[in-house]
């Protein structure tokens, strides 16, 4: 009873919330007792609070491994804005000087986010060994499993790394972990006594709708029609940066009253923050984006998530639509489906994994380098360019080459027989991954083409049951766009100000509008 009281009080004190959301307390209590815990919580349920609060309460440092650098940076920014200052995100994009500065006083931080790549660095591991690591968090823990939708080979090395620290409690978190994946997490982290807290991931307030559409032109027509009737915060997901950009500009041209922008991972950090915060702030209505947008975004009143293209798997779809309606109000997830769209994710799968020809080419190049006595110098982008691969492909391959002992710390180790076997093993592995991803895609296509309840199909892969809303379930259960009644946000009339007026408003006139007294 007393513990409960203090936990809630601490929550109020450090984060300003009066109560926990579903699942949070159970998971936090577990680590406060020193137990290892696996938590599966729906997207948008405040997973990160599960370790942010213990990080504040426990003596020592909490380390969070997270594969998504943009998510890390967002969270750190958010925590800092809310006066949680002893936090830092370590990743390979950091300026080396800045990183050295942080390394010098690691013990000062309550919470350290780190990318799995950087956690391979011996220098960092040694530094971390010397501080008191009290809790080790694995975010997006499904990445440890080959059956998860985003397998990250670096995650397999985590248990070895954790062993070097002073036996901290482990917290593994995921929003999408099937039973197989859950078992893999426990197995690979080598913590058989891990306590599981699995919560249903279905979202009752999201209406699912799939629209069969012939081509992109028709998709745009539909969106123009929709947005000329309604204004509400909306996200439109695209499978490429290019199409997000082009469509954003096209829609803006046709919908002058809507404020539309695009967002993708190719933009500078400052531009990304700007667009993201404009959206949070209500300066924007619609964002056309790639999957890079949304992680760590905590906007509660997003009413509509459109998928302009078919996602490559149900897991990412569930994650992306989970950004709608966090305030609990009805929201819509709309997939615009064209049969030929299946080619897009197929292309993406190919781009992620090297082909057999590319594999032979890399082997030839490596042998050449070895014969010239050269090592692998350069960052992953440069090396990828040298081998004519995408960076994702090169990372994948680099990992495999290390695994088969062909590359040891940037040195090429040649052994004829071992290389022959290695080539075959990697080739088989690529084939296996392609098959797996194809199967995931087939599930997604199956959902888009499903004739029965969409909600049922979507969630049956992840859990035994789900809540069915009283009305408005999905487009196969009688929902149609025409009965959509979203809250209509009144439009602020926009006046064209001169730059002199804008400058004045921004710097001085703020004085007379609503300054707190």
């Amino acid at each position: 009873m007393i513990e409960q009281y203090t936990l809630e009080k601490s929550l109020q004190q450090h984060f300003g919330y009066s109560e926990f959301r579903i699942g949070q307390k159970e998971i936090i209590e577990e680590v406060m007792k020193g137990n290892d815990v696996l938590g599966v919580l729906p997207t948008g349920s405040g997973k990160s609070l599960c370790y942010q609060l213990p990080a504040k309460l426990l003596t020592g440092t909490t380390i969070v491994v997270s594969p998504l650098i943009s998510l890390m940076i967002d969270q750190v920014n958010q925590l800092r804005a809310n006066q949680f200052k002893s936090v830092v995100a370590l990743n390979s994009f950091m300026d080396p000087n800045e990183r050295r500065q942080v390394y010098r006083k690691l013990y000062d931080y309550d919470l350290i986010y780190v990318s799995p790549e950087l956690l391979q660095q011996e220098e960092l591991i040694m530094l971390l060994e010397n501080i008191n690591v009290c809790l080790f968090v694995i975010d997006e823990a499904h990445c440890i499993s080959q059956w998860g939708h985003e397998f990250r080979p670096d995650y397999l090395k985590l248990s070895t790394i954790i062993r070097k620290f002073n036996n901290p409690a482990i917290m593994a978190l995921s929003a999408t972990a099937t039973k197989d994946v859950q078992n893999d997490i426990v197995h690979y982290l080598e913590r058989p006594n891990m306590v599981k807290h699995i919560f249903p991931i279905d979202r009752e307030n999201i209406i699912f709708s799939v629209k069969q559409i012939n081509d992109d032109q028709e998709k745009i027509k539909l969106l123009v029609k929709l947005f000329s009737r309604y204004t509400f915060p909306a996200l439109i997901y695209f499978s490429s940066r290019q199409s997000a950009e082009v469509t954003a500009n096209l829609l803006q041209g046709k919908l002058p009253d809507q404020r539309i922008a695009f967002y993708h991972g190719g933009m500078d950090q400052m531009d990304r923050i700007a667009v993201q915060q404009q959206f949070m702030n209500g300066q924007l209505d619609i964002i056309c984006c790639t999957s890079a947008f949304g992680m760590g975004i905590n906007k509660s009143n997003i009413r509509l998530i459109v998928h302009f293209h078919l996602p490559s798997q149900l897991e990412s779809y569930i994650q992306e639509v989970g950004r709608a309606g966090r305030d609990g109000n009805p929201s819509l997830a709309l997939l615009l489906y064209t049969e030929t769209d299946a080619f897009l994710p197929k292309g993406l799968i190919k781009k992620e994994l090297p082909s057999i020809n590319q594999l032979s080419f890399v082997f030839q190049q490596l042998k050449q380098l070895y014969e010239n006595g050269q090592a692998l110098n350069g960052n992953s982008l440069e090396l990828a360019e040298m081998f004519q691969l995408s960076e994702i492909q090169w990372r994948f391959l680099h990992n495999q080459l290390e695994k088969h002992g062909m590359i040891v710390k940037n040195q090429i180790v040649y052994h004829r027989e071992r290389w022959r076997q290695g080539f075959a093993a990697i080739r088989d592995y690529i084939e296996e991954r392609v098959l797996f991803k194809d199967r995931k895609l087939a599930e997604m296509i199956g959902w888009a083409e499903e004739e029965n309840c969409l909600r049922e199909y979507l969630y049956q892969h992840f859990q035994d049951s789900f809540k069915r809303p009283a009305d408005k379930c999905c487009s196969n259960c009688g929902f149609s766009l025409s009965i959509l009644e979203p809250a209509h946000v009144p439009h602020v009339k926009r006046i064209n100000l001169s730059w002199q007026e804008k400058l004045r408003n921004l710097l001085i006139a703020g004085d007379d509008n609503g300054k707190p007294t």
């Binding site: 920014n77 933009m267 500078d268 702030n281 400058l503």
Partner: protein
């Protein structure tokens, strides 16, 4: 994919970046590969690039597009080639065609390329603009008693600097916002309205986040590849006004005061310069610093480029100097290889480069 990329150019000859590349082609008289242009625009810190920059009068463009990707650059080169404005041979060496020449004649004045000042500002410009953007955000928010917001600039070095600067202004936010307003107002009034407007739209204030580059490009109908250059040019123009009359822009000048002093491009050359001033020989310096002798030579050329008073006579005799000058006049080229063939064997490449550096600094002076 490729076809999509081409469609960016549908407005055709509006592209500032293409004008820049053509201008570089025009200036570089020697047989050089397109990579030389790429290195100048992205501000590569190599002695070759630094020397090219000085030799071909491209100081204004040094490092003005640091985020330009190699692939994009090649795409642009290919496009200029397709339009027959430049020709590129099989060893990647380029030449401006007569059509390209005409194009420059017609359009150059409109592009206002001379407002760039890359060599002076390539390092200072981002420092200035990032500090200023963050300072405006902090002042406007704290003047409204709002201390919880996401900083628009997330570079630690910038944040640390602005924070300590802000501490000196604290409790007087409103007064300083008035100063800032007045200084920016005066400064921006010297720019064309469109540029001033772009600058103001980029600012983030209280509950109002500034526009992204892409939003600015859309709003002002500027090709997306050019918007960063337009921004850089605005910042360069602002900096040159501030530096010419620092007393009129005390607050803005305070933002850059600690970052202004930077004549050398590489820190390493600066170090060598110190040692030379203490009369160490090239051999000793190389040994002390565990560097190759040629690297030290590179530094010396770099020093000579920046400092016109640097005594080159310790490295080139008067006779050798005159011989090299004669060779330049006779062959009418700056090409190192051709000059080397035209002078006595004992004259080294280093000596030729050094002489080129000195005549270049003199020419700029005159």
């Amino acid at each position: 994919m490729k076809r999509d990329n081409i469609s960016i150019y549908k407005g055709d000859w509006k592209l500032l970046i293409e004008g820049l590349i053509l201008k570089c082609c025009e200036q570089i008289k020697a047989r050089r590969t397109t990579a030389a242009i790429f290195h100048i625009l992205t501000g590569k810190k190599s002695i070759q690039t630094v020397q090219d920059t000085h030799l071909y009068d491209l100081a204004l463009f040094y490092g003005i597009d640091k985020s330009l990707r190699k692939n994009t650059f090649h795409e642009l080169i290919r496009h200029l080639e397709q339009k027959a404005l430049i020709s590129v041979d099989e060893s990647s060496c380029f030449q401006l065609t007569s059509q390209g020449d005409r194009w420059l004649l017609e359009h150059e004045s409109r592009l206002a390329l001379n407002h760039f000042n890359g060599l002076s500002y390539h390092a200072l410009a981002p420092v200035f603009s990032e500090r200023l953007l963050l300072l405006v955000q902090i002042l406007t928010n704290s003047s409204m008693q709002n201390y919880s917001f996401i900083p628009i600039v997330d570079k630690k070095t910038v944040q640390v600097w602005v924070k300590s600067f802000y501490k000196t202004l604290k409790w007087n936010e409103t007064t300083y916002l008035h100063y800032l307003h007045d200084e920016l107002h005066t400064l921006l009034s010297m720019l064309p309205d469109k540029e001033a407007s772009i600058f103001v739209d980029r600012l983030t204030g209280y509950r109002s986040y500034g526009k992204s580059m892409q939003q600015l490009a859309y709003r002002y109908q500027i090709p997306s590849m050019d918007i960063k250059l337009v921004w850089t040019c605005i910042i360069h123009r602002m900096l040159s006004v501030i530096q010419s009359k620092p007393t009129d822009y005390q607050l803005l000048h305070a933002i850059i005061q600690d970052a202004e002093q930077r004549s050398f491009i590489t820190e390493s050359a600066k170090h060598t310069h110190h040692l030379l001033q203490r009369h160490y020989s090239v051999e000793t310096i190389a040994a002390m610093r565990k560097l190759k002798r040629n690297t030290i030579y590179d530094h010396i050329v770099e020093i000579a480029l920046v400092d016109s008073t640097f005594p080159v006579s310790s490295f080139v005799t008067d006779e050798q100097y005159n011989e090299i000058i004669e060779a330049i006049e006779r062959t009418k080229t700056y090409s190192l290889k051709q000059l080397k063939d035209a002078v006595a064997d004992e004259i080294s490449y280093f000596q030729i480069r050094l002489v080129l550096a000195t005549i270049k600094t003199k020419k700029v002076k005159s």
